[in-house]
């Protein structure tokens, strides 16, 4: 089977399985497990969006959570019911008061506006490389946070933004996840995907074969931002209430952890990373509450789950420095090498 | 002085060296030639301790040095001018030279040696403050050689010292090497320019796909049909 065909087949099977889970799970599983699945799918969208620039283009962004936050607030503002808007956001400009959007259009608008924001932000920032682009994008995250805190007419400032209808259900998230995987898989395994990896490997050589480095990075950044914005909207409608600090460093770190652990150069790796980290931390969170084995009682040690997770991360990195999947995609029966992240000692200069 | 016995090195599934044996006696220049990918650089890297041998032994001055830390090996007296030059590109020419001598403590001798380097490679003296990474290709090659010499080694490993160097300078470098040889320096030389290599060397080994295909005194090998065959693998 050719790689193309295998990937297409993988996507199809994933779609069917996803649909089965999306519509089946709520009937079979308890609310708790449905929520875990939903969160895994939601985080998968966010991590995939992140992988486009961080994993495939080599622009290690620390700012994507800024887009998630922007998406959450934009769609939140758009979709709070009109009656509540008056009470919650009395200083909103008039035209925003007049209407409220249903979930899907609000999410699309959030995605598009966030992508536009990414164009504006990315145009200067994507010129930078290496650590500089990381710190600059982190600066963007901080700027978003400060603006969210200060633009209190729109965001209620540091006060919790609340009143967003709870509309994020499992089918919605699975649907968006399917779209994300589909679009990303097609982008990554295409001429454009090759251009991204070329830019990651060597910007100079990339421009020498006619690839516009800035353009390639910008496109990856903007598409990632779109899905981040969408994910932000899903988050907003999942939580119902949130504050600027919901979309800040803690979320950044956890998404990056999932991405790196899963494998930066692989779409399925990103998903695997999300699943592993989420399940592991759920299990550990229950274990740390203390348990008894026979007569032996282990007391509650809150915080122990983070410690154990930390050790597990280190162990994974020692034994699989490129993450669980590395740069391979999970396909049928065999793993497919898509692109190695260059790390032979020879090339480390 | 140096004796390599049955050396094997693998890179993952690639068997780069499949059991190489060679000897270098004190005061001797030995050339290592062979087609691209034959394993010449890998041999030198392994002697310097940068690659771990999977099998075989490396003996220097009667002591086994396989698996010894590279910095120890330099202190024992083996320096290398490596393939790809591996300069410290962000440091100046002067700093690169200083680092070449970092295993030594004899200040005066170091000073004398650096004067000698400036005699050998005058361009370096003019460019002391320039960052090594911005030197032209050939200038970098000269610096790499000088850096290795600054360690005052007893055994000098040279990986293609003429690579990217202009013809006039190639001759210059090889006459410098000949001078060093006269002064008693032991060298193991990897070189694509067989004529030059055999002119300088006392003996030579021809490698092919990770094995010694042929060896002998330079004079015997020169103009020998067998070398070309060994290169091309026509013999097999």
């Amino acid at each position: 089977m050719s790689r193309e065909a295998r990937i297409t087949l993988l996507v199809l099977v994933a779609l069917v399985a996803g649909a089965a889970v999306a519509f089946g799970a709520p009937h079979v599983l308890s609310d708790y497990f449905v929520r875990i699945i939903l969160l895994i799918a939601l985080n998968a969208i966010l991590v995939l969006a992140l992988s486009l620039s961080n994993g495939f283009t080599g622009v290690f962004s620390l700012g994507h959570v800024g887009f998630i936050g922007a998406g959450a607030y934009i769609s939140g503002i758009l979709s709070i019911p009109v009656q509540q808007k008056m009470a919650l956001l009395p200083h909103l400009p008039g035209f925003l008061h007049a209407f409220s959007l249903p979930f899907l259009p609000a999410t699309l608008v959030a995605g598009v506006l966030t992508a536009l924001l990414a164009v504006v932000v990315g145009y200067p920032l994507m010129r930078l490389s290496g650590y500089f682009v990381s710190v600059a994008t982190m600066g963007f995250l901080i700027i978003v946070n400060v603006v969210l805190i200060n633009a209190s007419d729109f965001t209620r400032g540091a006060r919790t933004f609340t009143g967003v209808p709870l509309e994020t259900t499992l089918p919605w998230v699975m649907g968006w996840l399917a779209i994300t995987v589909f679009v990303l898989a097609r982008l990554v395994y295409s001429p454009f995907g090759r251009a991204m990896k070329a830019v990651r490997d060597d910007t100079i050589a990339a421009s020498a074969v006619g690839i516009g480095v800035l353009r390639t990075r910008l496109i990856a950044f903007v598409i990632g931002a779109f899905f981040s914005g969408v994910g932000g909207s899903l988050y907003a409608h999942y939580l119902g209430s949130f504050s600027p600090n919901t979309f800040y460093f803690a979320l950044t770190m956890s998404l990056i952890t999932m991405l790196v652990l899963g494998g930066m150069g692989s779409l399925t790796g990103a998903v695997v990373g999300v699943i592993c980290v989420s399940l592991l931390s759920e299990v550990l969170r229950s274990v740390e509450r203390g348990f008894t084995i026979g007569d032996f009682a282990v007391p509650a040690l809150f915080g122990a789950s983070q410690i154990v997770l930390g050790f597990i991360f280190i162990l994974v990195m020692i034994f699989r420095p490129k993450g669980i999947m590395g740069d391979r995609e999970l396909t049928f029966g065999s793993t497919q090498r898509s692109a190695t992240v260059n790390q032979t000692e020879e090339r480390k200069r | 002085m140096l004796s390599v016995e049955n050396l094997e090195v693998n890179f993952g599934a690639v068997r780069a060296l499949k059991g190489i044996s060679l000897d270098v006696h004190a005061g001797e220049v030995v050339a290592l030639v062979g087609a691209n990918g034959a394993g010449k650089s890998t041999t030198l890297r392994t002697i310097s301790g940068l690659s771990r041998p999977r099998g075989g032994r490396i003996i220097f001055d009667g002591k086994p040095i396989g698996g010894v830390a590279p910095s120890r090996i330099v202190s024992l007296g083996i320096a290398q001018s490596p393939e790809g030059r591996r300069l410290f590109g962000g440091l100046t020419v002067a700093d690169n030279l200083r680092l070449g001598a970092c295993t030594r403590t004899d200040k005066d001798a170091i000073l004398r040696d650096s004067e000698r380097m400036f005699m050998l490679f005058p361009i370096l003296k003019q460019r002391l403050k320039q960052l090594a990474g911005t030197l032209s290709g050939g200038e970098q090659q000269q610096l790499a050689l000088a850096r290795a010499l600054m360690a005052a080694p007893r055994l000098l490993l040279l990986d293609e010292p003429s690579l990217g160097v202009a013809p006039l300078l190639v001759r210059h470098i090889f006459s410098a090497l000949a001078e060093l040889k006269r002064q008693g320096m032991t060298m193991l030389l990897v070189e694509q320019n067989i004529t030059l290599a055999l002119d300088l060397a006392d003996r030579a080994y021809v490698l092919r796909t990770g094995q010694v295909a042929l060896s002998g005194r330079s004079a015997e090998l020169r103009d020998s049909e067998r070398v070309a065959q060994a290169y091309l693998g026509a013999a097999t």
Partner: protein
């Protein structure tokens, strides 16, 4: 079931941990006292504790665990409004009564619904008491307002203070801001020092970590104005970090936990010290304690461990005598009318400066 399960999600790690930790200790103390005294309705009560890690997403997961898997009859939790807002919708949908010991935003019940109860007074109340105290006792007609814009509590408190203070005829001369986590306030202080005329006092809406430091840097810069604030000050850090600089500082809080406290409070301090190993870190310990008592009282009066009945009983709470004051819910209002203590610092010790209910309270 042989025990009555009460859910207790707590942010034991992450940024909220320094408040939720002591609060949990207080809650556990109350639970063990109740159980030692025979429990509720003849059954033991059990606190089902989860660490929600100061993270909204984890809170929502924990909520579904508590409601779906553990089948708790009521939930107690959190010192901050963020977390309450995160859990609120689920609690409301499942119709499980919920008490927040520490969140003080008076808007919570109206934002979330009728299952939500506050154990503490609202920020509008304490801000009003602070404003009236400054106007009447300190004779402070002009104020300088310093606000931590990084948290809901401090922003809200500032807003309520301004409303009450200006209503009472005071004038805000100047405002400035900082963000939680800042360690240097010298720039703001120099700005204050350059004000002419100087204000009569400073209202600093701050969290525990910063206030000691603000005071210290202010006094070091030679500013000796009185400083007034809210229950965020109420930790030992105020005096430990502030030292001498804490003089002439006043704050509104839930209970006076110090030397010469009421016997009830003193008994709590002793019991807490015995079970935890140190004196209560802050008033949140007492609030955690009171909340469990509040829930237990409601369950007892409901007559059965049934969430709907418990909610109704809770709403009818009247005159419950807690460590942090007397809790009564007026009909339809889930924020208790509690008296507010104003505590002042004198000779390095906390003293009760006044105890009052405000005459004017800003709308939530």
């Amino acid at each position: 079931a042989d025990t009555i399960k009460i859910g207790y999600p707590a942010n034991l790690t992450g940024i909220q941990a320094s408040l939720d930790g002591p609060m949990l200790n207080g809650a556990k103390l109350a639970a063990s006292e109740i159980n030692a005294a025979g429990g509720v309705l003849g059954q033991q009560i059990e606190l089902v504790i989860y660490d929600s890690k100061s993270d909204s997403t984890t809170i929502s997961t924990v909520a579904s665990q508590l409601i779906d898997s553990d089948k708790v009859v009521g939930i107690i939790g959190f010192a901050d409004s963020d977390s309450v807002l995160a859990i609120g919708p689920q609690v409301q949908t499942a119709q499980i009564p919920f008490i927040t010991p520490g969140a003080t935003s008076p808007k919570l019940p109206s934002q979330l619904g009728n299952e939500i109860f506050l154990a503490a007074f609202g920020d509008n109340v304490q801000a009003a008491v602070g404003a009236e105290f400054a106007l009447n006792k300190l004779n402070g007609k002009t104020a300088y307002l310093l606000t931590d814009i990084g948290t809901e509590y401090t922003t809200l408190l500032s807003d309520y203070f301004v409303t009450a203070y200006e209503h009472g005829g005071g004038k805000i001369l100047e405002r400035d801001t900082y963000k939680i986590g800042d360690k240097t306030f010298t720039a703001q202080i120099a700005k204050l020092k350059a004000l002419s005329p100087q204000p009569d006092f400073v209202y600093a809406s701050s969290n525990a970590e910063e206030i000691g430091l603000i005071l210290k840097q202010m006094r070091q810069a030679g500013i000796n104005l009185p400083v007034v604030g809210g229950d965020g000050y109420d930790t030992p850090l105020l005096i430990q970090v502030g030292g001498d600089a804490a003089k002439d500082t006043y704050f509104t809080t839930h209970a006076y936990i110090g030397e010469g406290a009421t016997p009830k409070v003193q008994a709590f301090i002793d019991a807490y010290t015995k079970s935890v190993g140190n004196a209560p870190e802050n008033a949140f310990a007492a609030l955690g304690y009171d909340s469990v008592k509040l829930m237990a009282d409601a369950i007892e009066r409901a007559g059965a461990p049934d969430p709907a009945k418990i909610r109704d009983a809770l709403a009818a709470t009247s005159g419950l005598d807690g460590v942090t004051g007397t809790i009564t819910y007026r009909p339809g209002i889930s924020v208790p009318d509690k008296s507010v203590s104003v505590i002042g610092v004198k000779d390095g010790k906390l003293v009760l400066a006044s105890e009052a209910a405000p005459t004017f309270v800003a709308e939530p």
